[in-house]
């Protein structure tokens, strides 16, 4: 189902209901690539967060380096917040002359919202007209003038604008000041101070001139304390590192690259070998080589690069080498929408590579789960001696949300049946790399010790690793390898509910869709009529499929719909084959833009209406 088709009206109805406790303010910073949208958005986010607000931030960008049109969206709240919103309250544009995009943003402004632009810009009449139409205020601030006068350069007009935002949001100025000092202080103190001066000017200008017109506000929670604003990819990287990952080889591909760059930037500090390879084939092959040697290893990519890795994935499966692959999905097929989000690689990842071998697929949905997935991926990989895929996506890779430091726990490193050097010294008898065992997992000793000489083959092999084609051995080895999948299945985490028990309708979601669906649960149920109407069931460890837990959970549902960012409802298909459960309705979005909670609510309302009609 495509979105935004005659749904605006219903959307309004939902939004106009009073939302009891949870209040949100949404801000959008827009401009051309290279104009500082991303850094500005991140900066003001940090300041507002430190003020004591919950915050969700995500950027929308085109596949180009300069020009075009990007934006950064911030949702602020007095409660935890997990997604962007469709409508927003404050809009800062650095390229208001881009009429088409500007208008489309303005149309999404709430009544009473504000639009900050440089007073020097001569706005096109359509823009002012539309502003009036939606009932939003024009805050034409002297951005470039203040920047030039006080900072000595128009370049600082972004900072003036951020000051304006802080002013309208009534954020204590020292919060913004702190962030600016941290960000620019590295370059030079002078630059930092100039930026602070212009920010302050913007701050005061906004308070004096517009505060009375901007009626939205949130209570700052001064007790909130430290929270991280870290994105999904950084969380995966940090989880991997804390779980002992010491080798990462990769080839750049949006949106997988930032996992790699987290390591490259810190390679000396962390003692991690990072290798930018010539392609994705080499990326995974090197990681496998390092893993065979004994290092916890990983690679990261996106769909197209993952395609090139599937042969080597089978190598890892066949020779039982623990290795972690991050596939950060983006809009496909092929080059597709390189900077946009999608969840369309699920069945490809699960079935990737020819032949059959065990692999594990994790699909985290939040920043915390990204960290956890990083940790678990490396532990599970080594415990079961299998490749583990972390399937994330552009939306999760780049989003930030105020995150507890404690969620990034100190992991236990579980190396499974790893035989240490000391144990080897005492070993009697021949070491069999692929010994048949009850759980299919063979004790793993590294090459480099006089007692462990062996040479695994990607051909079918016997317990020593030597090539053999006999039918008997083949059957035993297949059983051994595939049995690991069954053992691992029992420790895959089952799905989790969010929202009221006994809801009339349960949304089945996986991966990053959790965020928007969770907000939709809150938004929808907050309407008095809808109290406890909907909840969600979120899957975040999907292969081997946690069938039992899924079946238990499904028993607690009445009417299920799947909500996925893809065309073919891949998760619903998987659920069907694994549990025989047929979701009643499938909601799909595949335009590369992340689902918004309001949008989901509209779908849900339609579904409920139709379902009631159908049973009437």
């Amino acid at each position: 189902m495509a979105f935004k088709q005659g749904l605006e009206q219903k959307l309004e109805q939902i939004q106009n209901k009073k939302m009891a406790q949870k209040q949100t303010i949404s801000i959008k910073v827009a401009g051309a690539a290279g104009q500082g949208v991303e850094s500005g958005g991140q900066g003001i986010s940090k300041a507002l967060r430190r003020g004591g607000l919950h915050l969700f931030g995500v950027s929308d960008y085109m596949s180009l380096i300069k020009g075009g049109h990007n934006f950064f969206q911030i949702t602020l709240s007095n409660e935890a917040v997990y997604a962007h919103t469709e409508k927003f309250h404050l809009f800062i544009s650095f390229d208001p002359q881009n009429v088409e995009d500007t208008l489309s943003h303005i149309r999404e402004l709430h009544e009473g919202a504000g639009f900050i632009v440089d007073a020097d810009t001569a706005l096109k009449p359509e823009i002012t007209a539309t502003l009036q139409e939606v009932g939003a205020n024009l805050f034409a601030m002297p951005l470039s003038k203040l920047a030039a006068d006080l900072g000595g350069s128009k370049i600082m007009m972004n900072t003036v604008a951020l000051g304006g935002v802080a002013g309208l949001m009534k954020l204590p100025f020292e919060k913004l000041e702190g962030v600016i000092r941290e960000n620019f202080g590295k370059k030079s103190n002078e630059i930092a101070e100039k930026n602070i001066a212009v920010a302050k000017a913007g701050y005061e200008y906004a308070i004096q001139n517009y505060a009375s017109q901007f009626k939205f506000s949130l209570p700052y929670n001064l007790q909130m304390g430290d929270k991280m604003l870290i994105n999904g990819n950084e969380a995966i990287a940090m989880g991997s590192y804390t779980a002992g990952c010491r080798f990462i080889s990769a080839y750049p591909m949006t949106p997988g690259t930032s996992v790699f760059e987290w390591f490259t930037k810190r390679n000396a500090q962390l003692g991690v070998v990072t290798k930018h390879t010539e392609d994705e084939i080499a990326a995974l092959c090197m990681a496998i080589g390092a893993a065979q040697a004994g290092a916890r290893s990983m690679t990261t990519t996106s769909g197209g690069g993952f395609c090139l890795m599937v042969e080597a994935l089978g190598l890892a499966g066949m020779t039982e080498v623990p290795v972690v692959v991050v596939n950060a999905m983006r809009g496909g097929p092929s080059t597709g929408l390189p900077t946009r989000t999608e969840q369309a690689d699920l069945l490809f990842a699960i079935n990737a590579s020819h032949g059959e071998f065990p692999k594990i697929v994790l699909t985290p949905g939040t920043i915390e789960q990204c960290y956890d997935a990083g940790v678990r991926a490396h532990n599970l990989a080594e415990k079961y001696q299998v490749p583990v895929i972390i399937l994330t996506d552009q939306l999760l890779a780049g989003q930030v949300r105020d995150t507890d430091l404690s969620a990034f726990y100190t992991p236990e490193i579980d190396r499974g049946k790893f035989i240490s050097k000391e144990q080897l010294d005492k070993l009697e008898g021949e070491y069999l790399r692929f010994a048949f065992t009850e759980d299919g997992v063979s004790p793993r000793a590294l090459q480099g010790h006089p007692k462990t000489v062996h040479a695994p083959a990607t051909d079918e092999h016997d317990e020593t690793g030597h090539i053999t084609e006999t039918a008997d051995n083949r059957i035993k080895m297949m059983n051994k390898r595939m049995h690991k999948l069954e053992v691992a299945r029992s420790e895959m985490k089952g799905p989790e509910f969010y929202g009221p028990e006994n809801a009339d309708l349960t949304m089945i979601v996986w991966g990053s869709t959790y965020g928007a669906a969770r907000e939709a649960v809150d938004l929808f149920n907050r309407d008095e009529k809808n109290k406890e109407k909907i909840n969600l069931l979120h899957f975040y460890e999907v292969w081997p499929f946690p069938t039992k837990a899924a079946e238990e959970a499904l028993k607690k549902t009445k009417f299920t719909i799947s909500v996925e960012q893809n065309y073919t409802s891949q998760f619903a298909r998987l659920l069907k084959v694994e549990t025989s459960h047929d979701v009643k309705v499938k909601i799909n979005k595949y335009d590369g833009r992340p689902l918004a909670p309001e949008e989901i609510c509209v779908h849900v309302q339609n579904v409920l209406k139709q379902a009631q009609l159908a049973t009437a």
Binding site: D226, M228, L229, I230, M238, T242, R246, F247, S249, N267, A268, L270, G271, V272, V273, T274, K275, T277, E278, D279, I281, A282, C285, M286, A287, I288, G289, A290, A291, Q292, A293, G294, A295, S297, E311, A312, L315, T319, T403, L405, F408, T410, P411, I413, L446, Q447, G448, H449, P450, K451, T452, V453, H454, A455, P456, A457, T458, D459, H466, I467
Partner: protein
Amino acid sequence: MVITQEKTQVTVKDFKTDQKSTWCPGCGDFGILSAVQTALINAGIAPWQVMLVGGIGCGSKLPDYIRANGYMTLHGRASSIASGFHLANTDLVTIAISGDGDGFGIGIGHLVHNMRRNMDIVHIIENNEVYGLTKGQYSPTSKRGFKTSTSPEGAIEFAINPLSLAVSAGATFVGRSYSGDPKHAAEIIKLAIEHKGYALVEILQTCPTYNKGQNNDWYKAQTYKIKEENPNYDETNMLHAFELALKDDGRYPMGVLYHNTERPSYTEQVPALQQNKTALINHSLELKADLFEQLKKSYV
């Protein structure tokens, strides 16, 4: 390679395995197997101190027929997997083993890039100028006109010149030998092992099944030792190496064509390996609490 392990007294017996070879009778791969073994013995490297990473092909199966650490991997990827292994465990002597299809065909991208990086591994490429294991198709080193199932009118492609290519790609050691002279091959392999950086050793190989014309007699007539023909040959001169590699008299120069000892190896320059003078796999996995705290705080 920088050999970190102590030299070990080893003999042929140490490398003996029960695994039956699947090579055709008379295959040149037997000579290469024996050369590898001899080189290891002479270099004082025990079966557990070496890592043989094979691609896929007849010759790439070598690690299955010798008692030594090995890993038989994917067609064309030996160089990458060996490089990854080496970076994680610099204590073992890492040797990649390919056929001409494996190394110069499907795998040439990895080869070229790992050469210019000067990854500190040895890469032995067994060149029988044909695809053996898939039953005799022409390869990137097949001579023009070579008739095979995929070139029934004779190959119309110009063969790759592995040596000039290696030199221009940045390999710092380029040697050549031949399967019918395992003693010479062993010498070159030993030099390659002792070289610091990417060492390419091309070993011309007979394939009595699919490349019958180029049998031992033929090779004996077509090969010559560089140093015998020109005792003053200077293997450190890149332009000389090119000249020799490009010399088009139908004969194969054997020996060390090029040797550059000045370029640092990749391994020597990797911060994580240099700051902590032991192999990566021996680094502690323990998480330092203060570092962790600092990492987290940087996001607040």
